[in-house]
């Protein structure tokens, strides 16, 4: 277990920077809108979904609308269904830890856990668990700092949000170099970019994922029919 923690921790350092900053920004934004510090902290503890929590500030400033809240939550978070397909097998042997790692499957945790190749001598289950738990701790800690002493941070952190772009970029490069799935890369990129231009930056992920499902589905059927001959 100790061994897997030593393996897991360095992988979460970029997320430490990103989540402390984003969590902090979230805490500052929420309290600047008049919410008590406990509200953003509670949200980070129970919801743990960055994009959704920023959206929730707007929802909670507007008149109460449970139906719109449900629909917006499902739409913003629909990408998690996809993460589930990838993590089904890796997470299938986790036992009691399974509930927590599924609950904490954010974009950043997914990107790390889905792209890393864990060496045989390291315990896989605990590695997934440590990465998920560390990221969760960073997010809650960032929110607490932002919601309580956020306005007194002494140094200039402008631009640190780029750390998550850099993380995603580097993990994509690693994924391409290790998997050599250039066609999957092309399909992922083109589906997303075309969908981005058609549906706009708020709504492009669901159509992009459907496009990928259809293209990969056809590829699967094509391989099957070739295999039968």
């Amino acid at each position: 277990m100790k061994h897997s923690f030593h393996y897991a921790f360095p992988k979460t350092i970029p997320i430490f920077a990103g989540y402390i900053f984003l969590g902090c920004s979230y805490g500052i934004l929420a309290t600047s809108q008049g919410f008590a510090p406990i509200l953003p902290i509670l949200m980070s503890v129970v919801v743990y979904s960055g994009a959704m929590q920023f959206m929730a500030i707007n929802l909670m400033l507007a008149p109460f609308d449970p139906i719109a809240t449900i629909l917006i939550t499902l739409m913003i978070n629909a990408r998690h269904l996809f993460y589930g397909i990838v993590m089904l097998k890796p997470y299938s042997t986790l036992g009691a830890k399974r509930f927590f790692v599924i609950w904490g499957l954010t974009d950043e945790t997914f990107t790390i856990n889905a792209t890393m190749t864990i060496p045989d001598e390291i315990n896989r289950e605990w590695t997934y668990f440590h990465i998920t738990a560390l990221n969760y701790a960073y997010w809650v800690l960032g929110t607490i700092i932002g919601a309580t002493i956020g306005n007194q941070i002494p140094f200039n952190t402008d631009g640190i949000e780029f750390v998550l772009n850099a993380l995603f970029l580097v993990l994509l490069i690693e994924q391409i170099l290790s998997s050599k799935q250039y066609s999957a890369l092309l399909i992922g990129l083109s589906s997303s970019i075309i969908s981005l231009f058609i549906f706009g930056s708020q709504n492009f992920m669901i159509p992009a994922m459907l496009a990928m499902l259809i293209i990969f589905g056809l590829q699967y059927l094509f391989q099957q029919s070739k295999g039968e001959k």
Binding site: P14, S49, R79, V86, L169, I187, I193
Partner: protein
């Protein structure tokens, strides 16, 4: 919103988010054999989905809606991150240099 309405909203958001995270795992529990197409997808999706997440991270630049002062730092820091990573293959090095370069260019702009 009253306190009660706020609490209900938080509960809805919590349950909605959990639904999207758990649904796939509930449809295919570990006790059941997953269909072959899901195995097939799970091999190709990491590459395609991480590509989608990168597009998401760069959505403002790609749709030309990014604040003007972020465009130059983003382009330069992105190129630097890619080059350093292909050269050294050190995750933390590429990310740190890219981010510090971005912060520097953004703050002097």
């Amino acid at each position: 919103m009253t306190l009660q309405e706020q609490i209900i909203t938080i509960i809805i958001i919590t349950l909605g988010t959990m639904t999207t995270r758990f649904l796939t795992f509930m449809i295919f529990p570990p006790t059941r054999k997953t269909p072959i197409i899901i195995d097939f997808l799970s091999k190709l999706l990491p590459t395609a989905v991480v590509a989608m997440i990168v597009v998401y991270a760069y959505k403002e630049i790609l749709t030309f809606t990014a604040p003007p002062q972020t465009i130059f730092p983003t382009v330069i820091a992105t190129i630097a991150t890619i080059i350093i990573h292909l050269w050294k293959r050190q995750l933390l090095l590429s990310i740190s240099v890219g981010t510090l370069l971005y912060m520097f260019l953004y703050q002097i702009a």
